[in-house]
Subunit: 337 residues, 2 copies
């Protein structure tokens, strides 16, 4: 394979990586033509529905690459996918990852995939396959892209359904772990292009340096929220990603309801306030780009609020009653008074 | 969203694209947090197993980008994934795609996804979701990467199993549609770096220009091969991708068998012979990089060979008896005498 290696593709590095991923994931079947997942517990489901999601990490990757810290973007990757599946009321079953990279360095790839393995574990799912594509000339320098695919399952009748929502339902916000994996093109533009911060700098009010703050992994809400879904205590879930509260909460609203958030009823992460100041961002830009501190928003009937809050706190979540559903036409209002 | 747009991310272009993909795929549910797939026909399966695969198109994308012909790489993407699922004996159910792109041009993205929709249709599957990630600074110029994810299903007892293979089983090769989606870093190195061919040039013995020859989409074998799997006529399937016949056929061999191919018993595409000559490739390089004209290899008990060949020809495949299984230790031998 001299010619192929000279052309920039190192097949042996790929094989070495597969062996290492097998060990990391404790799944010796990796490397087959397709990943297998036996639907053994199907008896539990009357009308099983598979719920699938795909996502990437976005340009947060460029921060990880620049910082040389590739250990946690895999957690972000899994989080972006499994939180979407959870938002439908489904239980994540398995995950596959795609790594596109210019030059395959097995040690670096192993660190990336170790993050995926950790994320999959936090989501109580299983890594059953993946692809590492060495693509010289497509990715320049150290660049790589990462895409993930998750599949979950739910009983059709138990999928979260916006028809169950009522005016007066509470909106509970679960604290995000900072920026998560959205808005990074704007973040990088403000910090590194408009201004010339270094990844070792600290922003006002933040103890950690920028690389640590920016790279904090997206929170995975599966273990704390799924049991409440199973108990029928949750009406709907919005996973707050690109588009922020307005776009993502709008997706759970039926035609006759609107969402009202009381700005100030939850803490906005300091990094976002700093970015607003440094970048002279309008609140419009802020709310459509960042999660404003809420990684997930749950719509809950008033009679279930206390039980849901208590259970979430018990699971280690920071939870805030951030607003409510009102009669309307799918508006998402963030009241600042 | 002025700030985000200035930072290189056009959210509205993304929304426009989702609308267009909904129309293309005739799936109005696209755009939800997760794609849904009801397992309605589960009654047919005693012990259902989901089979998943993820893959990309590799640097064939760079040829498509250079040629400005982005309409068929989506077919390649689907083919790479669903042929892997078929290789396990499973039926592809649904597909999701991930498009990472530097600057989102909805018209171009629409062309790319139209290829995905066509591929999914050829595989009798359903496109239930996808992600388009606009990542300025990650992808330079017109570059984009494409990853796909397919899920299929099979009854556990009907998954193809290497234990069913016997010495004397015939190896049937299904003609590839040229290079498919492998070896393109080498192809590009030979044609465009070592030599300075243009995409409009013609190679000896090939009527079409290079861009047409190189971009011919990977063949999707689902419709022709799956019915034979369902009838129990196929012992094992190797999908010939990166690593060629040696690596991919080795994956279907049990410990006590080897595969013997008779080189010359099937036509090697002219493009590969041209590349060997122009690039001074050893046969070793050739066989480990290219499919040598066989996109899929089936192991079939001798008593079923005539029926399988007839059915494949009837389905429009070009099929060749290319070798047989012999006693051995998982060697893959390509006999040139």
């Amino acid at each position: 394979m001299d010619a192929y290696k000279k052309a920039g593709v190192n097949i042996n590095a790929g094989y070495q990586l597969v062996d290492e991923i097998k060990q990391l994931s404790k799944n010796s079947e990796l490397g087959a033509f397709g990943g297998l997942f036996a639907l053994e517990e199907l008896g539990k489901y009357k009308n099983p529905v598979l719920v699938s999601g795909t996502d990437g990490v976005g340009t947060k990757l460029l921060v990880a690459i620049e910082a040389g810290l590739n250990e946690t973007v895999g957690i972000d990757l899994v989080a972006m996918c499994v939180n979407d599946i959870l938002a439908q009321g489904a239980k994540p079953l398995f995950f596959l990852d795609y790594l596109g990279i210019g030059h395959l360095d097995p040690n670096k790839a192993k660190k990336i995939v170790a993050g995926v393995v950790q994320g999959v574990s936090e989501a109580s799912a299983k890594l059953i396959g993946g692809e590492t594509a060495e693509m010289p000339d497509m990715y320049t320098g150290d660049h790589y892209d990462l895409a993930g695919f998750a599949v979950g399952i739910a009983d059709k009748a138990k999928l979260l359904n916006k028809a169950s929502l009522r005016a007066g339902d509470a909106l509970l916000g679960l604290a995000s772990n900072g920026l998560h994996s959205n808005g990074f093109s704007l973040v990088r533009d403000i910090l590194f292009k408009q201004h010339h911060y270094s990844l070792d700098d600290r922003l006002p009010g933040i103890d950690q340096d920028l690389k640590t703050e920016l790279l904090r992994p997206t929170r995975i809400y599966v273990k704390s929220v799924l049991p409440l879904v199973d108990q029928g205590l949750i009406g709907a879930i919005a996973h707050i990603t690109g588009g922020g509260l307005p776009e993502n909460v709008a997706r759970i609203l039926p035609e006759n309801l609107a969402a009202e958030f009381n700005y100030g009823s939850w803490p906005v992460p300091t990094i976002m306030n700093d970015l607003q100041k440094i970048g002279h961002l309008s609140f419009e830009d802020m709310k459509l780009t960042f999660n404003l501190g809420l990684g997930m928003v749950l719509a809950v009937h008033p009679e279930n609020v206390d039980q849901v809050k208590a259970a979430l706190i018990e699971s280690g979540e920071a939870v805030y009653q951030v607003g409510k559903l009102v009669t309307g036409s799918q508006e998402v209002l963030i009241r600042k008074d």
